[in-house]
Amino acid sequence: MNASTELTPGRLLRDARRRRRVSQARLAARAGTTQSAISRIERDRVSPSVETLRELLYLLGEDLALGSEERDTGIDRTLNRERLALSPEERLEQGLEFADFVLRTRREMEGSKAAA
């Protein structure tokens, strides 16, 4: 994720405050805190709790909407599903065979490199 476009709590608050055309000082007054505290949050010098962020956005007339979604890890789930269909015993047998295959292949590749 690009740092300049990354959505941080500070950026989220700053964007909302500017959208609402509220100064840091006024937001601080509403929240019973200091302008410098709001500034520190917006500059991501401190990370507010979800509850603090929710309250500050509430004071700006906005609601915090959190969400989550499944991460694309790049892991091929079909491999895991195939293994889960086996017993742990069978999984280990396959795993050991695969480890042997990898090691044998490495040796063969190193051997052909050395021969060349």
């Binding site: 890890t73 293994r83 015993e89 050991l96 490495r106």
Partner: protein, 171 residues
């Protein structure tokens, strides 16, 4: 594990775990082999176990390790190592080479608060024909999360997916 330390063949699980079982050692299979038992597709080239630090268990562990024929891995050939309960109790984590493959025997495991917790959440599975306690996928995740190695970060991603797949399969 780098190119120089890659073993020539996969470890022999039965030869490494059977003496532990026979001597009644209180241990839990962890690491890549436990991951495979849980459904991981990543290969593993060594065997890792966590063990209880009770004196009686350490005594049993020493007998089993003696039968397996362990030697300290990466230590100079002439470095004396007396395999006895005192040596095990003076250390915590031991990395061995054996005639059956690399064998790590660990008591202090990053990401795990206690052996008792690890054992409580483990489950008994058939491994190489033996009934062996295997660490839970959640504890395997905790161990990978506590490690900074690139390999472990990749495996962490897979273990999180695997936990999700297990959850789906159980529905």
């Amino acid at each position: 594990m780098n190119d120089e330390t890659m073993p020539r063949s996969a470890p022999q699980l039965l030869e490494l775990l059977e003496p532990l079982s026979r001597h009644g050692v209180d241990f839990v299979l962890i690491g890549g082999m436990a991951g495979i038992a849980q459904g991981s597709a990543y290969p593993s080239y060594d065997v890792d176990v966590a063990y209880s630090r009770s004196h009686a268990n350490v005594e049993r562990l020493v007998k089993a390790l003696g039968e397996i024929g362990v030697r300290l891995r990466g230590a100079p050939e002439d470095l004396p190592f007396q395999l006895d309960a005192r040596a095990i109790e003076n250390g915590a984590n031991f990395t061995f080479i054996t005639p059956y493959g690399d064998f790590d025997v660990l008591a202090d495991i990053a990401g795990i608060s206690s052996y008792e917790q690890l054992r409580a959440d483990s489950s008994e599975k058939s491994v190489a024909g033996l009934d062996v306690r295997v660490a839970s996928i959640d504890h395997l995740i905790a161990m990978k999360r506590a490690s900074n190695r690139t390999k472990d970060k990749l495996m962490l991603e897979e273990y999180i997916v695997l936990a999700d797949e297990q959850q789906r399969a159980a529905r």
